[in-house]
């Protein structure tokens, strides 16, 4: 699997609560086709955490509670995060369209109650997407692997990349 950032370096953890919706991730009025393809990512979490887009550094880890990404199907919400350098997210659970969009864009959607419960905003965290390990507050967590279908897609970078290469979806059997 691709690891665009150096594994095992330390990143900042950004903690979000339950039910963070896609209007929170990127308000509708800052859609790329409203403000421009080059700048829309600067409005990520514009209402919820106005400092986020400015202070986020590639590889920093977003950790969120239940039902992350509910609401609008807007793929440009996770795309804004990807443009800022997000490669993985850990949440208690995801809204289904947001989850699909993450896989399609190549952001790894890890699920872990434990990590989210232990996390504090601003924590230092290190993680390795390839091995699914995460170190936080002196503890090492093993993140649950994704279903084979999605893993096959993410191993090519994203579902889009998989389709480009193979001309079809990964096998489902």
């Amino acid at each position: 699997m691709t690891t665009p950032h150096e594994p095992r370096t330390t990143h900042r953890l950004w903690l979000f609560g339950d039910n963070v919706n896609t209007d929170d991730v990127l308000p509708g009025k800052y859609a790329p086709f409203m403000v421009g393809e080059d700048v829309f990512q600067n409005y990520a979490f514009a209402h919820l955490r106005p400092e986020f887009a400015r202070e986020y550094r590639p590889g920093d880890l977003i950790v969120a509670g239940r039902n992350l990404g509910l609401g609008s199907s807007r793929e440009y919400a996770p795309e804004a995060l990807k443009k800022l350098g997000v490669r993985a997210i850990v949440a208690k659970s995801y809204a289904r369209i947001f989850y699909r969009n993450l896989v399609n864009l190549g952001i790894v959607p890890f699920v872990s109650e434990e990590v989210v419960s232990a996390a504090r905003d601003g924590d230092e965290v290190s993680y390795d997407i390839r091995t699914g390990t995460l170190e936080l507050r002196g503890r090492t967590y093993r993140l649950e692997p994704l279903p084979a279908f999605l893993l096959a897609a993410l191993e090519e970078g994203s579902l889009l990349e998989y389709f480009k290469k193979h001309g079809d979806f990964p096998g489902v059997e």
């Binding site: 039910n19 919706n21 209007d23 929170d24 308000p27 509708g28 009025k29 859609a31 790329p32 086709f33 409203m34 403000v35 421009g36 209402h47 919820l48 239940r66 039902n67 509910l70 609401g71 609008s72 199907s73 807007r74 793929e75 440009y76 996770p78 795309e79 659970s93 995801y94 809204a95 289904r96 369209i97 699909r100 969009n101 399609n104 864009l105 279903p147 279908f149 994203s158 579902l159 889009l160 389709f163 480009k164 079809d168 979806f169 489902v172």
Partner: protein, 412 residues
Amino acid sequence: MTLAQAILSHKVGRPVRPGELVVVEVDHAMTIDSIVPTVIDRLEELGAQPRYPERVSLVFDHVAPAANVNVAEAQRRGRDWARRTGVNFYEVGRGVCHQVLIEEGVARPGALIVGSDSHSTSYGGVGAFGTGMGATDIALAIASGKTWLRVPESVKVTLRGRPRPGVSAKDAALEIVGRLGADGATYMAIEIHLEGGAEEAFGRSERVTLANLAMEAGAKAGIVAPSGEILDLYEVPGWLRADQDAVYARELEIDLTALAPRLAAPFYVDNVHALSDYAGAEVDFVFVGTCTNGRIEDLRAAAEVLRGRRMAPGTRMLVVPASSQVLQQAMAEGVLQSLIEAGATIGTPGCGPCMGRHMGVAASGERVVSTANRNFKGRMGSPEAEVFLASPRTAALAAVLGRIPDEEEVAP
């Protein structure tokens, strides 16, 4: 088998079970003005053309007419693409995508429709499996004619009896979302059965409202079991039925005869309350429209309240018909006349200010009563605006009273 299983089994050609991943042919893929630029980017990246152009629709509704130059350029790109590829194209003013696909007969019982808009669950109102996806998923569906889905478990909701006068499908839909919660049906389908008079009380329009708001409980699809008016309007395939022994993740029954008007208070759709919890709160802006409640039945309900009355001083009202057909019918019936005489104004058929981009966004400190489907912080403009979701009747009353009405005032 549940209705969701029945539809996906029919598409796959063998019985499927909840939890399994399937790759299925879709009957139709839909996209919209705000998403089509990304869909075109993805198709270009794949070097792909629409596999079945006749099974693809592009609808201009989300910021239509264009509000600025960026949007105008994006829409021009969409128009050019539609002309070049031969996909079905619906111009500015034709209406909200979901309403258009229903009026055009694309949405029909048993169809599998994917759309780049989360409220694609709406097609379930006519007994279709409709589901929302992102731009890449839709691009892949357009390129291949297929998509991947996890066969969902289902929550069974039974609505029983005839609602009291003044109580509508919107109130029932909010009650469902309030009871299930915003993630109560995530990854699942909500299967709605109308019984004991509800099947006659709720026609196609009301069923679409129910299926539309299933999304707000996180559902992949909201499917209303075909009955009543649906049997008159469509040929319903024999295989499209839920078995007596179908297994559900959860079952919920709502007695419509005892249901009172509901509203969703800021900033979550599952923050559902009785009107009395907020009655008397001053209202600045009333919006009637959207894929949830912009059909002729909804405009009639608003006009019935407004006929011979005036907006309260300091309160303004915008009505946006869900489609050009709705607009024409409202004109023919004198509904527009009643709305305009009362002081409301009419917008171009489409999504209107639902997602806070144009045509009447809300300022900080303003309170809005809307018939739409979302009230998230900042949804309709300023993050300091408050949006309450309610039925067209409740919304129209708020406009003439200048405040959120009480339960007794909503009863005719």
